[in-house]
């Protein structure tokens, strides 16, 4: 069994190993840089200890194998983006040139540099070790954050965004970057991406064009990937879309990957999660069956020793019954309150 829990100081070495195991170009916020990862852990520890302000808050989690303690995945939430340094994205727009007299009506797609997402909370830094991309691990890792936000919504902004990796090839070559960014900044996408990951994104952004761009001036290849998700990130996109996240026309300024967005209160898992009291623990032999046996995200209600797991849950008089293995992994016992939501939106009522 795996659970998702806040990152700890002793996760640094496993996290580095995980990142070196092949995050690759495009997962900007997890650079292969020990000092940077240490800084992120430090920020997260301060955040969980309630010693940070919203602008600096970084809620970082790892997925750990309960039996071995092995760290197999990572994910995070930024309390608010763009409050320390400008947060840039391109807004995809349209300019119409029309003249009834000349019989002209053309629509030209445009890219407007914007700071529209300033102050939004951001789901970020999701990575799951390839060996563990099985079953429901990916969904658990991603959606654990939604349950956390549901439980501690006072710490988050009204709007939540997630920037998804844009299209690039195996060598990290992004057609959008090649057609746009490269002209303004003589470096490879991988290098720009790395600079972004180590906190220099706004510096890089300062070198980018500030005026609106006519996307029709870009290569056909570049135009085709605006708002498109990298092949490997499509499952992550589907998971978020199931929860109500939508692409609303904002894309990354470097690779044109889509920013998905949703109001916190409209996220399906947030809306439909509920707090229940644990009234019974089920032993292995008492595995629930039938309609009640849907895989369910469960977390405790305290911020200390927080953990999310996928448990088997059945409703009981005055509360719920939880399988004993999950309860132990999550550190909850009979009488405790837990927040739950079925993993799949289709199972929620």
């Amino acid at each position: 069994m795996v659970i998702v829990r806040p990152i700890r100081q002793d996760d640094l070495a496993p996290l580095l190993a995980l990142v070196r195991g092949g995050v690759g170009v495009g997962l900007t916020t997890l650079p292969d840089n020990e000092a940077l990862l240490q800084a992120r852990i430090t920020a997260s520890l301060a955040t969980f200890a309630r010693k940070a302000v919203r602008a600096d808050e970084q809620w970082m989690f790892v997925m750990a194998d309960v039996a071995t303690g092995r760290v197999v995945g990572v994910c995070a939430i930024a309390g608010a983006v763009g409050l320390r340094e400008p947060w840039y994205s391109y807004r995809v727009g349209t300019v119409v040139n029309a003249s009834r007299e000349l019989g002209i009506f053309t629509q030209t797609p445009t890219l407007f540099l914007s700071n529209d997402h300033t102050g939004a909370s951001e789901l970020c830094s999701l990575f799951l070790h390839p060996e563990f991309r099985v079953g429901r691990n990916g969904a658990l890792l991603s959606k654990s954050r939604l349950l956390f936000m549901a439980q501690f919504r006072q710490h988050f902004a009204r709007k939540v965004i997630a920037e998804l990796r844009g299209v690039s090839d195996a060598d990290g070559r992004s057609p959008f970057w090649e057609s746009l960014g490269r002209h303004f900044f003589s470096m490879d996408f991988a290098e720009a991406d790395y600079l972004t990951g180590i906190g220099k994104k706004s510096f890089v952004a300062e070198l980018m064009p500030k005026h609106p761009l006519y996307s029709s001036f870009l290569s056909a290849e570049a135009q085709a990937v605006i708002g498109e998700t990298h092949e490997l990130t499509r499952p992550a996109r589907r998971l978020l879309e199931q929860e109500g996240f939508r692409y609303e026309g904002h894309v990354d300024i470097f690779d044109a990957g889509p920013a998905l967005e949703c109001n916190l209160d409209d996220i399906d898992a947030v809306k439909k999660s509920a707090v229940h009291r644990v009234v019974k623990l089920l032993t292995a032999g008492q595995a629930p069956a039938g309609a009640d046996s849907v895989p369910t995200l469960v977390c405790g209600t305290g911020i200390e020793h927080f953990a999310v797991g996928l448990a088997r849950v059945i409703s009981a008089a005055d509360g719920i019954a939880l399988d004993a293995e999950s309860a132990a992994a999550l550190g909850v016992s009979i009488g405790d309150e837990v927040r739950t939501v079925p993993l799949r939106p289709a199972d929620r009522h």
């Binding site: 053309t106 900044f185 510096f203 300062e206 070198l207 500030k210 761009l213 001036f217």
Partner: protein, 351 residues
Amino acid sequence: MYVLRTAQPADLPQIEAIAAKSAIGITSLPPDRDRLLEKISNSRYSMSVDVDVPGEETYFFVLENVATGEIVGTSGIAASAGFHDRFYSYRNEIIVHASQELRVSNKIHALHLCHDLTGYSLLTSFYIDPALADGDLPQLLSRARLLFIAEHRQRFAEKLAAENPGVCDVDGNSPFWNAVGRRFFGMDYPQAEQLSGGRSKTFIAELMPQYPIYVPLLPDEAKLAIGQLHPDGELPFSILMDEGFEPDTYIDIFDGGPTVEARVDTLRSVRYQHRSRVDGHFASDGTEHVSIIANTKAEHFRALLGRVRVGVVGGAGIGLSPDVAEALGVGDGDIIRSVDLVPPTTGEMAW
């Protein structure tokens, strides 16, 4: 003898023939009888009225072989570019994208749609019979306008501009238009121009992209066309360059050709021209200067290439030969303006 004079309605058939031959880039000489007649009428009207500040006046001149009555060239001036409206150009700009932190500084070339040249006086309609292009007549055709402007300063702005044709292929397809305007119009430039039906370019310009164009994003052939002159435009362009026009700041929004500009007072023919009284003596002493000579009239403006004699002992002004005086329509005591055909390139006035 060739004389530059104001265009008259009787010149229409010959001007029409010239317009049919002229390059696509010379939009101020449309191959359209009604518009040409209007151009002549506007010019005649403009010459006849008193003007305090430049407005919608246009001035149109023809170069005539006096012996045959043949018209071999045209030139013109519009008093105020974009009058009643705007005159659009792209301004070449450099945007510096710099980051101290990253130790990077990039100069980015961008084209900014602007109205900067609105209200400038425009030199227009230059055409010379190709058979006469190699001689001195192009100098007369182009620079006599500057003498006209020098004499009638209240009719013109302090600054002048002139559009020059940009590069295009034999079918009139412009690489600059194909990369820029075409995206917003979905048609070839000749077609767009035709569609606008002779209305001012402003009409089309208002449909053009309003945001700056980042040059690095343009295809190479369009980049190369920026500020690039059509070979047909080399002659009038070189005359303006010699006069001191500045070619690097503005380009035409449609074909990317260079739009040159200058302050009137800085132009060579304005700095080195003389305003003199005609003296009846055309004696053999003094010195002779091959000059562009113009009278100081408006409706009856005339200019030609000829000799003036200066420094005549006992003379009170400038000497002209009788045939020159007659061709200019001036007599003893009248005022003329003249400038050496080859003025000094630097330094003092020649006389």
